[in-house]
């Protein structure tokens, strides 16, 4: 299969992107300024991310669709207001996470943003689970552009009026160049920001206008350091089929209403884990000094017993030090627990810490 290119490919080239193949797409890992500068620019100003490789799944339907989707997702979709978004997961019957996603209620049904590497499988799974009752479109005609960082609201508002009135985790249709674009106030960096769903033919023009207003393109490299500092999970690393939302410490995303009814896929396991606890759980890990513990690094307790594994680890440019997250046996998951990380055959001290490593308050109201 040929590697796909997004509609911003030419723009990436113009901005001297270094490309990497990711989930079948040629994606920019970084531009000429490098990951650290791109990361800091996003934290201090505004960064633009091409995330067009992600799946934009539209499912069309009414009340019956809501009921059917509630059998799949652990969400109170009946009470989800128009244009409001929720973070959720697609689980298997053992509550293993097949994908994590953002679902938004739109007038005609739902828009679900899926991970690039999972989107085609998700489409088939959902189609089967919904018995092909509803029209489903995994839209390849739309690009997805994220703009993140403290100046993003002002910059995007100069191009698309009134967008700054959106609340966090909600969206709406706006016009750009007389084309309908769907914008949500959300993101994956720990900063205030937006994700813009726009027809492919207009994505380049929109992005160039945002750059003109002072934002800069940021690659997948900095996207990874930004999301890790913000304590956000990356599917395929921090989340996979061998981990449940309770183990992933994401129970906040499961509706309490729905747990009491317990009628969604994987609910038996979820309820059992919520009542009896779990054996392993996702935690933040802060290595002492500068040592970087990457994915698959083994974690040991003070008696040198293997108690877990790092699932993501890098150097956090804003934290100005190493950051990591991983899974440890539950009894070692308390904040400030001393652990050891095995890097290149040597053991280095680290401690369990709360997430995120970096916190900025999201914009809740209009500003």
């Amino acid at each position: 299969m040929d590697t796909k290119k997004t509609s911003l490919y030419k723009l990436h080239q113009d901005c001297n992107a270094k490309f990497v193949e990711f989930a079948g797409y040629q994606m920019p890992i970084q531009y000429s300024e490098g990951i650290v500068e791109e990361h800091k620019f996003t934290r201090n100003h505004s960064g633009i991310f091409d995330v067009s490789h992600m799946g934009q799944l539209f499912i069309y339907g009414d009340d019956e669709l809501i009921k059917d989707l509630e059998k799949i997702f652990p969400l109170d979709l009946e009470n989800l207001k128009l244009n409001h978004s929720k973070y959720s997961f697609l689980m298997d019957k053992d509550a293993g996470i097949q994908d994590d996603l953002i679902i938004t209620k739109i007038r005609e049904g739902f828009l679900i943003i899926l991970n690039a590497a999972c989107k085609n499988d998700d489409f088939k799974i959902l189609k089967d689970l919904l018995n092909e009752k509803y029209k489903m479109v995994l839209d390849e005609n739309r690009s997805l552009i994220a703009i993140q960082g403290p100046k993003s609201s002002q910059i995007l508002n100069e191009v698309i009026n009134k967008v700054k009135d959106l609340n966090f985790m909600s969206g709406n249709w706006f016009l750009f160049d007389n084309q309908k674009v769907y914008i949500t106030r959300s993101g994956y960096t720990g900063e205030d920001g937006f994700e813009i769903s726009i027809l492919n033919n207009f994505a380049d023009k929109l992005t160039r206008e945002l750059i003109e207003k002072g934002s800069k393109l940021v690659g997948l490299g900095a996207r990874d350091t930004l999301r890790l500092e913000a304590g956000l999970c990356l599917y395929g690393h921090d989340l996979d089929k061998d981990k449940t939302p309770v183990e992933a410490n994401l129970k906040w995303a499961i509706s309490k209403e729905r747990i009491s009814k317990g009628d969604f896929i994987g609910s038996d396991i979820i309820i059992k884990q919520l009542n009896n606890g779990v054996t392993k759980i996702r935690v933040g890990i802060k290595p002492e000094g500068r040592i970087i513990a990457r994915e698959k690094t083994k974690i040991f307790n003070q008696s040198d017993v293997h108690i877990g594994e790092i699932t993501s680890g890098t150097f956090g440019p804003t934290v100005n030090g190493p950051v990591a997250m991983g899974y440890v046996e539950n009894e070692f998951s308390k904040k400030n627990t001393k652990v050891f990380l095995e890097v290149r055959g040597k053991k280095y001290a680290a401690s369990i810490c709360s997430l995120p490593f970096y916190k900025k308050s999201y914009v809740k109201g209009a500003n």
Binding site: G34, G221, R290, I292, R344
Partner: protein
Amino acid sequence: MTEVKYSKEHEWIKLEGDVATIGITKHATEMLGDIVFAELPEKGSSVEKDGTAGVVESTKAASDVYTPVSGEVVDTNQAIVDDPSKINQDPENSAWFFKLKIKDVSEMESLMNKEDYDKFAKENA
């Protein structure tokens, strides 16, 4: 006159008397991106030609640093451990990695001169 030589693993080596100063090339730093961690060999330890003698890490990945010649480590550059970004700023000068008292000067012969290395680096970019 001391000539700087280069290895296929993108290290540079400058020999003065029987002490060689070793670092990584500008080309290497460009391929690695922002360096955020450096680990050096222990002073007094012995290293063997083409063996690992340190580690550098960018935000993306870790890479070994090799020694192009054998010898005993007589000095290391703590400044790049404390601030690894110095390696990106001045890789072929102040951001040297370690100094070796070399064992066998003939090991220098198989290394490249600047012109050959630049050509090699261009082909392997």
